[in-house]
Symmetry: C2
Subunit: 300 residues, 2 copies
C-alpha cells in the first residue's frame, strides 16, 4: 500500500455544513483516517487532516477534490482568506521514516489526476516546485481567483505546471505540494514583561538570526499573567523541539525568568517526540522501530 | 475490534524450526502483527511478540496455542529453562490507553478456551491472579511439568484455576495472565569502577529501598571500558523512565561520574516515550492523541 503520509487539503467552504460533510464522506476508506476538520466561517474555509498509506490516501483525496469541485463555486464565494481554488491547496507530509520523495510523488500523482480528469490548472509548490520561485505558496496564489483568472493566460509567471492555461470556471486553480510537518509550538515564561518574549522570539527565529526552521513571535497572555513565545517549527528533523526548548530556557535564564510550560497546538508526528526522548535520555542507539505501536503501522 | 494489546507467549520449543514456523503461521491475521521471535536452543524455548486489537489477538493466540499443543511433547522435551507446559506462559499487556482490565479480560478469555477446548489446566497469574499467592509465576510453576504432574491432584496450592485437575499428557499446564509492559533499560556510566554501578543499582531498585517498579543490577562492561546499571522497569506509568534516568544521573554526580548513554533493549510502548517528551519539555497539557500516527491505531 506504500508509505505513510499526512495530507492537509484546504477547501474554500467553511459555512455550508452539507458540503463539508459531503467532502468528509468522500474521503472515507478503510486504510485512510480523517483525523480532524477545522472550519472557519470568517475565512469561509475548511482544513482537513487525513493520514494513510500513500496509494489509498491519494485516491481518497482525489474523491474529496471531485466532491468539492462539484459543490463549491468560487464566483459566489466570499471569505477573508486569500484563495485561488475551490480546492485551494493540498500539501502532503511524510510521516515516520517515509522519505520526502514519496510525499512529492503523491503530490505529482494527485496534481496530474486533478489536471487531466477535472480540467483544473495545477501549481506545484514547496518541495514539489519545479523552480525556486514556485516554492512559496503566497507568491503562486497572488491575490487569488479573480486576479489569476485575468492573468493566467498572459503572465508567464502564472503559467500552471499542469492543466489548461485558464482557470476552471467555478473551481479556479489548485496548488499541490509536499512539505515537512509543521509543529505549532508555544513556550510560556514566568514573567508579565512581553518585551522578554519578543526578544527571545527574535533570538530563536530564523528571520532575525536564529534557528533555521523556526518562525517565532512574542505575545502577552494576560489571562495567565504571563508571556508566550509562539512558534511554527517547519522541519523538526533538522531543528529539533528540544533544541528550541533549551535555547529558550537558557535565553530566559539571562533575564532571571523560567519556562513554566510548553505546548503543542494540534497534532505532532511521532518522530518529533521520539527525538525528544532520545535526546534527553541520551539514547544514542534508539531507533523508532523499537516503539511497539509504530510497528503496527509498517506497510507492506 | 477492541483495545490494543501486546501478547508475549512462551512456547517450549527452541530447536525445531518447523514447529516454530508452524506456530508463527498459525498466528497470522490481518489485524494482528507478529513483531519478533526469540528462540533459545539451550532453553529449548521461543518467545513471540505479537500485537493487535483484543478480539483478533485472542483468536490468533489461540490458534498458535492449538498448533503448539499438537506439535510439542513435554515428555521428551529437554531444556535449561523451567517449564510446565508446551505453551508455558502467555502474558497480555495493555498498549496506548488500553486499560489493564482489558488485558485481564483477554487473558481470562484465552484461558477459558484453552481449558475447555484443549483440556489443559490453566493458572491465572500476575494481574489476573485470583489470590495474591498466584501473582508470582515462579511460585505457580514450581519445578515445572514433572513435579506438577505428581502434585496437581493432591496439593491444594497447585489446584488449577480452570480445566482438569491433572496435567495434559503431552502439553502439561499453562499460565495465562496480564501485566504491565516491561522495559529493559540500561544506563552507562563514565567510570570503570563497577562498585559505583552496583551502589547506584541498590539506590534505585525497589528491593533495597529504591523506586517501586525498578529491578536493577550493576555490571562491568570491559569491552566499552565502563560500567552499566541494568534494569527492568515493570510499570513505566507509575515509575517513569525520566525519573529513573535522573535519579541515576544525580546519584552518579555524587561520585563525580557522568551518564554517557542509556539504551532500551528490545521494544518499548509509545506511552513511555511520550511521557519522557512531556516531562522534559514541560508539556503539562499534552495528550497522547495529539500524536498523528497513534491516531491511526484507534480502534472502533
Amino acid at each position: 500500500v506504500g508509505d505513510l503520509l499526512e495530507c492537509v487539503p484546504n477547501f474554500s467552504e467553511g459555512r455550508d455544513q452539507a458540503t463539508i460533510d459531503a467532502i468528509a464522506s468522500a474521503l472515507g476508506g478503510s486504510d485512510v483516517r480523517l483525523l480532524d476538520i477545522q472550519s472557519d466561517r470568517d475565512h469561509n474555509r475548511s482544513v482537513f487532516t487525513v493520514i494513510g498509506p500513500r496509494r489509498p490516501l491519494v485516491g481518497s483525496i482525489f474523491r474529496a477534490v471531485e466532491t468539492a469541485v462539484a459543490r463549491i463555486d468560487l464566483r459566489t464565494h466570499e471569505g477573508a482568506h486569500p484563495r485561488m481554488g475551490a480546492v485551494d491547496v493540498v500539501p502532503f507530509i511524510p510521516l515516520l521514516d517515509t522519505p520526502m520523495e514519496s510525499a512529492i510523488g503523491a503530490s505529482r500523482e494527485l496534481g496530474a489526476r486533478i489536471a487531466h480528469e477535472l480540467d483544473i490548472p495545477i501549481y506545484f509548490y514547496e518541495e514539489t516546485a519545479a523552480t525556486p520561485d514556485r516554492k512559496n505558496l503566497a507568491r503562486v496564489r497572488g491575490k487569488g481567483f479573480e486576479e489569476l483568472r485575468d492573468l493566467i493566460a498572459t503572465d508567464t509567471d502564472r503559467k500552471p505546471d499542469l492543466g489548461p492555461p485558464r482557470v476552471h470556471e467555478s473551481a479556479g486553480a489548485t496548488a499541490v505540494g509536499a512539505r515537512f510537518a509543521l509543529i505549532a509550538y508555544n513556550v510560556y515564561l514566568d514573567t508579565s514583561e512581553v518585551a522578554i518574549a519578543k526578544s527571545i522570539a527574535r533570538t530563536v527565529r530564523h528571520s532575525s538570526g536564529g534557528l533555521r526552521y523556526v518562525k517565532a513571535m512574542g505575545f502577552d497572555i494576560p489571562e495567565r499573567a504571563c508571556v508566550q513565545v509562539s512558534m511554527n517549527l517547519t522541519n523538526h528533523r533538522l531543528t529539533a523541539m528540544h533544541t528550541v526548548f533549551d535555547m529558550i530556557r537558557v535565553a530566559a535564564e539571562g533575564y532571571g525568568v523560567s519556562v513554566t510550560e510548553s505546548e503543542v497546538v494540534g497534532m505532532i508526528p511521532a518522530a518529533a517526540l521520539m527525538d525528544v526522548a532520545r535526546h534527553y535520555l541520551r539514547m544514542h542507539s534508539f531507533t523508532d522501530d523499537q516503539c511497539l505501536e509504530l510497528r503496527l503501522l509498517e506497510t507492506a
